[in-house]
Every structure is written in structure tokens, then in C-alpha cells.
Symmetry: C2
Subunit: 175 residues, 2 copies
DNA sequence: CCAACCATGTAAGCTGTTACATGATTGA
DNA sequence: TCAATCATGTAACAGCTTACATGGTTGG
């Protein structure tokens, strides 16, 4: 189905705990999830789209109170499919944020193996990307790079190496 | 004026060396600048917009050959203003890519002090962001975080710490 | 009572993506 | 000559941002 980052973030959040649209906005405002944006103009239309697609539904809780968004079985399935899709090098090259969002929601898969598989795939994808950056630097293009350009690429490399270290340490925690 | 990342990338590239639209596309296809996207559908309209805004112009080189994009004086001024605008914590929180693009183009400012100021501002902005992530983790919200959520935030922290290390090392190189 | 917060949306505009279309040049 | 590459675009669509609009509730 291929949702947007915001779509996955919304389903993942209500899977953890059903919430109103407003409560979801607050999460983006007040936590590091803020990177996945915010503001009524994006969240409410996104929620309505997910409802139309049959991935979420709005239900009033049994004990009264206001309506909250819940994931439908279809939404749960969609999320599980996504969680089990291995991270690719292209994804990592584009932005590390989406893979990390996925990681944050892995407990919803209710199976440690999914976490383990994510981490090994993530590590491999990041390592592959590091290699491509390194071969760019040692290749003809990289040789003619300005000092600033080279440093900028090296900054990227350091960041990706930090991700590898993290993946290795996290793997220990889920062994 | 506030251009998009692609806009700054295009001006910066032709400042280094005048190029055709096609040559610019190749840069995005074949180098780590690929993160700033690509493909005719975005580059050609962006170039035309920059021409309309008076920041670029298309000129045929004296010795014949095809037309290439050059930066106008206005374009140069716009770039210089941008290069000298200090990086903010909000920018860093949103994405580290734009600040790094700026760094890569700092030689165009033709003054090492601009690089030094960038690096100290960058480091400060990243450190501030690290502190806000850390206080989130130690605060009430962070205490109730799932192990996965906590690890995801810690991944971010490691990445930002790598950026600080890089900034300190780079500062040495421009002292 | 009034400010702050709860709560949900719409509309205009900008950017970018994907896919399609066109035609020139060049090397095997 | 034919495939690849050079070279430049357009059109439909998706997504997000900003700004605006609306009204209810609650605590000082």
C-alpha cells in the first residue's frame, strides 16, 4: 500500500494506544516525533485518508468519553507488513528517519525476531551505503572534491558509522 | 528570499562551475548530492524559476558551445546571505542536510571566517538539540518510553554526537 | 469573564514525484 | 543504423505548510 511516513506514524501511535486527532498532534508537538511534522493541516487530512482507506476507524470508548482513532484489522495487517519489510540501502540513502520510525514501532509485531531481523537488515543497508560513500571518496570524482565537499561527505560517513554502532549495540539487547 | 534546498544546491553548483541543466542533473545522479533529488521534473522547473527570479541566467560561452547556467550578481548576493546566516537548532532538528549543504558551499564566501563562524554556530545548534533530546529522555515523557522508543531516540543522540565530533575536527582544519 | 487549551477542520499555494514526450548527437 | 546518451521539457498528482475559521470547555 505504501503509506507516507506520517501515515505509518499515525497508525503506529494509535496501535500503542487509541487517541483523538488532537492527542496525536500533541505527540508530534511535544516529543522527538516532531520530525514527522505536525499541525492540523497535515494530520487531520491524513487521518481522514487513513479512515477512508479502511486502516483506521473512529470509535467511542465503552465508558463514554470522546471518539478515538483505532486501527482496524486491515490497518494492523498493513503495519505488520511494513514492519517486516527489510530496510534497503536506497531508503537509508534517502533518509534514515523512516527506518528509525519503523524500529520504534517494532514492538507491535509482537515477536522479537522481527526486531532482530530489522536490526541485521538495517546494519547491512547502512554498511552498504557507507561503502558506496567511501568508494565515491576514493574514486575519481572524490579525488577532485574540494576540502569542504570532502568534509561534508565525511560528516555523512561519521553519522552512518554511528548508526552501525547503534545497531550492533541494540542487537545485543535483543539477543 | 528563502529558497528551497534544491534552489541553493543549483546556485551553489553553477557558482563553482557554470553547467547546463543536464550536467546539473548528472551531479545529483552520480554524487552523494543525490539526496537533494533529481529528475527532470524537479530540476528544470526549479532552474526556470531561479532564472525568472533573476538569480541565474543562461549564457553561451565565448568560445561557442551550448548554453550554460551562470549565477547573476543577485544570485551571488543571495547565496552569500544564506551562507552567512547562522544555523539554528530548529533547522538541525528538522534535518541536518540543509546545514551540510551550506557547509559544502562555504568556499564561495571566499573568507575562512565564514567557515569558522558556520562551524561554531553549527556545533552550538547541534549541542542545544542534544540537550533537548537528553532532557526529554530524563523527563517524565522519556521515563515512560518503550525500550524501542528509547533506543530510537538514543540512535538520534549518537548521530548528533557524531556531528559535534565532526564539527570540532573540522574547526581544527580551519583554524 | 476571559485566557488558555481542547478539538477539528478548510483553502491556497508550493514543491516534488512519476510518467510521458520529443528530438539531437554520437559511438560501435 | 541503432542503441545509448545528451538535452529539455510538460502534465497529473500527492503531500505538506501556512494561515485562517470555528466552536466547546475549564481554571483562575
Amino acid at each position: 500500500m505504501q503509506l507516507t511516513a506520517l501515515g505509518y506514524a499515525l497508525i503506529g501511535l494509535v496501535l500503542g494506544e487509541p487517541r483523538s486527532g488532537y492527542a496525536l498532534r500533541k505527540v508530534f508537538e511535544l516529543t522527538p516525533m516532531g520530525a514527522y511534522s505536525s499541525s492540523p493541516g497535515s494530520i487531520y487530512p491524513a487521518l481522514n485518508k487513513l479512515v477512508k482507506a479502511g486502516l483506521l476507524e473512529q470509535r467511542a470508548p465503552a465508558a463514554g468519553g470522546k471518539k478515538k482513532f483505532h486501527a482496524t484489522p486491515h490497518g494492523v495487517r498493513e503495519m505488520n507488513d511494513w514492519l517486516r519489510t527489510p530496510v534497503t540501502q536506497e531508503e537509508v540513502a534517502k533518509s534514515i528517519d523512516l527506518p528509525l520510525l519503523k524500529f520504534a514501532f517494532l514492538p507491535m509485531a509482537e515477536d522479537v525476531r522481527v526486531t532482530r531481523e530489522f536490526l541485521s537488515g538495517f546494519e547491512a543497508a547502512v554498511r552498504a551505503h557507507i561503502e558506496s560513500l567511501e568508494s565515491y571518496l576514493t574514486g575519481p570524482e572524490g579525488q577532485s572534491l574540494s576540502p569542504h565537499g570532502r568534509l561534508a561527505v565525511e560528516n555523512g560517513l561519521l553519522g552512518y558509522k554511528a548508526h552501525v554502532d547503534w545497531a550492533m549495540r541494540a542487537s545485543e539487547a535483543f539477543k
